[in-house]
């Protein structure tokens, strides 16, 4: 399946992926509304910044997802396409998934259900972070295991 992959050599550290991710999941019809009225939306992708290197991290949609196996309510599951999804109506925000994810890519949202990358399946087509990346540091494609 197509997943989000990042190339740290191309990441400018501009954080646009974070803003467009938050906006895409905000339910608002403009970025201005998403970020300037009320609590800003939580991004499901985050930039790590180093001295000379930056990269984005979001859910890897693992083949054997430890978050799904660990979820104490059954809110997290892997669908038939391999997308790891959270049923927000069943998430109690215990953060067992945050304790389990080796990539640190599941994000708390206060006392609300956790947030994670859903590959923008609701938004159709290409994930918002990929579309927003000005330097193709984030791509959406088929890949195999590392050699």
């Amino acid at each position: 399946m197509k997943k989000v992959y990042v190339n740290e050599e191309r990441c400018l550290g501009c954080h646009l992926c974070e803003y467009f991710c938050g906006y895409a999941h905000s339910g608002k019809d403009s970025m201005e509304k998403a970020y300037n009225y009320g609590t800003p939306p939580v991004a499901r992708i985050q930039i790590e910044e180093g001295d000379n290197i930056n990269f984005a991290v979001s859910c890897r949609h693992c083949e054997t997802p430890v978050c799904v196996k660990s979820c104490i309510t059954g809110a997290l599951s892997r669908d038939e396409n391999g997308v790891i999804t959270v049923d927000e109506s069943r998430c109690i925000g215990c953060f067992t998934c945050i304790l389990s994810c080796p990539y640190g890519s599941i994000v708390p949202d206060g006392e609300k259900p956790i947030k994670k990358c859903d590959l923008c399946v609701q938004n159709g087509g290409e994930p918002a972070c990929v579309a927003a990346c000005p330097n193709r540091a984030i791509v959406f494609e088929e890949r195999g295991e590392a050699e």
Binding site: E48, I72, T73, G74, I92, L99, Y103, G104, V107
Partner: protein, 406 residues
């Protein structure tokens, strides 16, 4: 192939999903003395609080048994395991080729003089416990909790919604003594006191005079609801009677197989090799139960799977303040505390052995991964100790993590 599972919680569900990865034809029978569809035990406090409705208590969808072609014998208690069959209290006999014992644990109730005459006493592990408490709690209730552990405090948190009169007694000198050190416990205790709980620590009940508890310290506290949550004991009797080796819990190998042919065990009733501790101990944790059940199921169906890198792990929150803990608190502590965030890492022989995060818990799983895999800290950037981040891994590993199928 006839698979039988005694138990209907996380380990049982893991086993069903494990079996069905390879064997879609064999029959699976689940035996449980509870009447309910598989539900999430930790949700009973959320149910009682009113945050979770009965339909959201289900650990798997309503069609789960049907989808996986599972027969259930609910409300039936297994009383004996013979060579190739499980005998139920009703007299029914259930034949098996492969059996999983996933009998879990039960509340431990220490001997306390006069306890038998206490009205409205509860334990807090099962759905029925929450349903029973729901009937008696009122704003006028005076509730006394014996035990300031994970179960006791989750229950006490809910009680604060019903009544402002909640007192917790524990023999230990701190709350949550199984997962917090003294400093962290003090911070959490203050938070819980602000939420309305009172604590009597380093104290215990010496006797009850009907609904008055007389503590070792001499204090007398009246109450009308008592909850006993001092700990749990693994349910190992059935296994022991069948000739299965039992130490502190049921003993299995890495494939969850016991010493008795065709009998496997998983979950709170077994002892697990803890990679941070270097020995076997009971890890009464839902994720561990699921993963052991899944491993057992795969092996029962003729595949091969082993449980690796198990360790204690707890994610829990009280009144909006969250804790992540993992591993063993041994070696040199590396400590940071600012205001309401608390972080302690335990490093021994250059390896992360355990940690406590409170408040700021973001990306804690990066530490869990380093700990479970026992990745030498000198192969990582020292910045890892300041903040959990993938930047601490070398470029090749970062590319594997973020640039390839994982």
């Amino acid at each position: 192939m006839k698979y039988v599972i005694i138990g209907n919680s996380a380990a049982a569900v893991g086993c069903i999903e494990g079996i069905r990865k390879t064997d879609t034809k064999g029959t699976i029978t689940v035996i449980s003395d509870e009447l309910y569809h598989t539900y999430s035990r930790p949700l009973i406090s959320y149910y009682l609080y009113g945050k979770v409705t009965p339909d959201k208590m289900l650990y798997r969808s309503e069609s789960f048994y049907k989808d996986n072609n599972v027969q259930t014998l609910l409300g039936e208690k297994a009383v004996k395991i013979n060579k190739k069959e499980v005998v139920l209290e009703s007299g029914k006999k259930v034949p098996f080729d492969k059996l999983l014992i996933a009998t879990g644990s039960s509340p431990f109730i220490p001997p306390m003089q006069g306890l038998e005459n206490v009205k409205n006493q509860f334990t807090f592990m099962k759905y029925d416990d929450a349903l029973a408490m729901e009937k008696v709690l009122t704003p006028a209730s005076k509730v006394r909790m014996i035990g300031a552990g994970l179960i006791g405090l989750k229950c006490a948190e809910v009680v604060t919604k019903f009544t402002s009169d909640i007192t917790v007694v524990d023999l230990a000198d701190r709350i949550l003594s199984s997962i917090l050190d003294a400093d962290a416990a003090a911070i959490m205790q203050k938070h819980l006191e602000d939420c309305g709980m009172r604590f009597f620590l380093s104290d215990s009940v010496s006797s009850f005079k009907e609904n008055v508890a007389i503590l070792q310290s001499g204090k007398e506290i009246a109450f009308d609801v008592l909850v006993v949550a001092v700990g749990v004991r693994p349910n190992t009797g059935l296994a022991a009677d069948a000739g299965v080796t039992v130490e502190k819990g049921i003993v299995t190998d890495e494939t969850q197989k016991t010493n008795v042919e065709n009998i496997y065990a998983a979950g709170d009733c077994v002892v697990t090799q803890d990679v941070t501790f270097g020995g076997k101990r009971i890890l009464a944790l839902l994720p561990n139960a699921y993963m052991q059940g899944e491993v057992a199921g795969i092996n029962m169906a003729g595949g091969h799977s082993e449980l690796k890198n198990a360790a204690p792990m707890n994610a829990i929150g009280f009144c909006g303040y969250h804790i992540l803990t993992a591993g063993t608190y041994t070696g040199e502590p590396i400590f940071e505390c600012d205001g309401k965030s608390y972080k302690k890492l335990f490093v021994k022989d250059g390896l992360l052995k355990g940690f406590i995060l409170m408040g700021d818990i973001e990306r804690g799983g990066i530490y869990t991964n380093i700990m479970k895999k026992q990745i030498p800290l000198d192969t990582l950037d020292p910045q890892i100790l300041a903040k959990p981040q993938l930047m601490a891994f070398d470029q090749k590993e970062r590319k594997r993590m973020l640039g390839s199928l994982v």
